[in-house]
């Protein structure tokens, strides 16, 4: 586990929010990440989504090159369980139409009832799940 890094958290949160806010103001899209990535495989307007993901990967690669410790190397659970988790995240976010960015940031900030319900649900269940898994592992 790591220590609290409030300044990094605030700086990163501001950048994430500016990214989503610029998309909202310039395009009128509530462009959450599960929607952008999901649309790459299921929607018709793939071009701008591909550019968005290209920007993500380029900056990710720059961080990986300059500051590799920005990323984790190992996983907390075995890889087959990571695969199940990925399946649940993909399925669940599309079913509920949003993830941490779409519901958690875009929706919550306009006091959308749906987003508040979704966010409290995935945060609550996320805390319970992570705490149970942590207890099993410890």
């Amino acid at each position: 586990m790591h220590d609290l890094q409030p300044l990094h958290g605030v700086a990163g949160g501001l950048l994430i929010a500016v990214s989503l806010a610029v998309m909202l103001i310039a395009t009128g899209k509530v462009a959450g990440l599960s929607g952008i990535v999901g649309g790459l495989v299921t929607a018709d307007d793939r071009t701008w989504r591909a550019w968005y993901v290209a920007g993500m990967l380029a900056v990710g690669a720059a961080f990986a090159a300059v500051h590799p410790s920005a990323f984790d190397t190992g996983a907390r659970v075995p890889l087959p369980i990571v695969a199940v988790a990925g399946l649940l995240v993909g399925f669940g976010t599309r079913l509920s139409n949003g993830c941490t960015s779409g519901h958690g940031l875009c929706g919550m900030s306009r006091l959308s009832k749906r987003s508040i319900v979704a966010t409290t649900t995935f945060f609550g269940i996320g805390v319970v799940t992570a705490t149970v898994v942590g207890a099993v592992l410890r």
Partner: protein
């Protein structure tokens, strides 16, 4: 529009990397109440929400977006099983792996083995959801 998307994707990834949210260990440090608790995620959310409140204010004062037809109308009020069930499944996956969709994709270029497993599985989940509940 495409250049804008490229820049926004870049900004998102920079934010995810700087805040540590691309590290499942840091996200799980927040979600797992049994370990050494790490509140960084709260600071990320608080800072981002503050910006978004302002963004919605700006949207209110504008007529139409530069690169789109219209701004979203008032949010839907429908709370159904699909919303709550989907969010619950997402919460289980998030609590297990510590990845949500954006940071998982950014991590692909870091060589983190778990993201190579997580992202394809997530894409399968997305496609399945579209099939099962279009």
């Amino acid at each position: 529009m495409n250049v804008l998307a490229l820049i926004c994707g870049a900004l998102f990834a920079a934010g995810a990397c700087i805040s540590g949210m691309v590290r499942p260990s840091k996200v799980l440090g927040f979600l797992d109440l049994g370990g050494r608790w790490d509140a960084t995620l709260l600071f990320v959310m608080a800072a981002a929400l503050a910006i978004h409140v302002v963004a919605w204010r700006i949207v209110k004062g504008l007529r139409a977006p530069r690169f789109g037809a219209r701004y979203p109308g008032p949010p839907s009020q429908t709370i159904d099983l699909r919303l709550v069930g989907g969010a619950a499944l997402f919460g289980i996956g998030w609590g297990i792996a510590g990845y949500c969709p954006g940071p998982a994709v950014v991590s692909l270029v870091s060589g983190a083995t778990s993201s190579f497993v997580f992202v394809p599985a997530m894409v399968i989940g997305i496609v399945l959801a579209r099939r099962v509940a279009p």
